[in-house]
C-alpha cells in the first residue's frame, strides 16, 4: 500500500468532553469494573472525590473522540476496515471525575510504511478545567493489506 505522509505534524483543534456520571457507570460496567468509586456516588464522596470517579481507561472515551478526528481525516487517509491497533500507551495525572470538562489535543506523530503495511502514530494530550494533564496517550495503528 502507498501511504501519504503529508499529515505528519498536523494538530487538530482541542476537543472538549464533559464527563457525565451515567457515562462513567456505563463504561465501568462494559469493562467489568466493580470498584464502587466508579458506581456509587456516596462511596466516591466518602473517599474524598467530588463526584463519581472515571476508571483510568475511561481515557478512551474522552481522548478516543479526539483521536478519531485524525483517524477519519482524509489528509491521513487510512482504511478503517483494515485497521489493526498495534500498541497503546497511556500516562495518567489526577483522576477524572464526573463534571470535569476535559480538553484533548491530537497530533499526528508519525506515518510510515514497512513491508507493505502502513503505520500511523497519534498522540493525545488531555487536560481538565484546571489545566492539569489528566492523560497523555500514544496510539499506534497499522493498516493491513486487503485480504
Amino acid at each position: 500500500m502507498q501511504v501519504t505522509t503529508q499529515a505528519v505534524g498536523k494538530r487538530y483543534p482541542p476537543l472538549s468532553y464533559l464527563v457525565g456520571r451515567e457515562k462513567i457507570r456505563e463504561y465501568a460496567s462494559a469493562v467489568g469494573e466493580t470498584n464502587q468509586l466508579h458506581h456509587d456516588l456516596e462511596a466516591a464522596r466518602r473517599a474524598g472525590y467530588a463526584d463519581l470517579v472515571a476508571p483510568p481507561m475511561f481515557a478512551v472515551v474522552y481522548a478516543g473522540r479526539a483521536v478519531a478526528l485524525a483517524m477519519f481525516d482524509p489528509d491521513v487517509g487510512l482504511d478503517y476496515s483494515l485497521l489493526v491497533h498495534v500498541s497503546q500507551e497511556f500516562e495518567w495525572g489526577p483522576l477524572v471525575v464526573a463534571g470535569d470538562e476535559v480538553m484533548t489535543v491530537t497530533t499526528v506523530a508519525e506515518i510510515s510504511e514497512r513491508a507493505g503495511r502502513g503505520f500511523y502514530v497519534f498522540r493525545t494530550d488531555s487536560t481538565n478545567q484546571r489545566g492539569e494533564c489528566v492523560c497523555s496517550g500514544i496510539w499506534t495503528e497499522m493498516v493491513r493489506e486487503a485480504p
Partner: protein
C-alpha cells in the same frame, strides 16, 4: 506490593460484550460488531476491542494496588485478535518495587497471547 508478586484476573467476555463496549467507548468499527463484515476482511468473526482487553489489564492492576489513583502508566502491545466467549487470562508480575512499582503483564486467550509486553507503573 513487592518484587516477584503476581496478579491474575480471569474473565470470559460474553457474545454481546463488544456491542456494549462499542456504545460505552464510542468505537463502532464494524469489525467489532458485524460478524459478516469481519469475515469479509479476513477475521474469524467479530473481534474484541483491544482497548477492552487493555482495560482488563488496567483493572487487574488497580484492584491489586488498591485503587484507580495508583495507576500512573500502562503500555501494551496488541498481538493476536481476541474473540468473545473464550476466557481471557491476565497475568502480571511485579518487576521492581522502589519509588514506583513496575509490573509486567500479558493477556492470553486459548493459548494465544492477545496482549504482550504490558508494562505498568504504579504509584506507591
Amino acid at each position: 506490593m513487592k518484587r516477584g508478586d503476581t496478579i491474575e484476573l480471569r474473565v470470559t467476555p460474553d457474545r454481546y460484550v463488544t456491542d456494549r463496549y462499542a456504545g460505552a467507548s464510542g468505537d463502532f468499527n464494524p469489525i467489532h460488531i458485524d460478524d459478516e463484515l469481519a469475515r469479509q476482511v479476513g477475521l474469524p468473526g467479530r473481534i474484541l476491542h483491544g482497548l477492552w482487553t487493555m482495560a482488563q489489564l488496567a483493572r487487574a492492576h488497580t484492584d491489586a494496588a488498591g485503587g484507580p489513583e495508583k495507576l500512573k502508566r500502562l503500555t501494551v502491545q496488541f498481538r493476536s485478535v481476541g474473540v468473545p466467549r473464550e476466557e481471557v487470562v491476565v497475568t502480571a508480575t511485579v518487576r521492581e518495587a522502589n519509588d514506583v512499582t513496575v509490573v509486567d503483564s500479558q493477556a492470553v486467550q486459548s493459548g494465544r497471547r492477545i496482549i504482550r509486553h504490558g508494562v505498568a507503573e504504579l504509584r506507591r
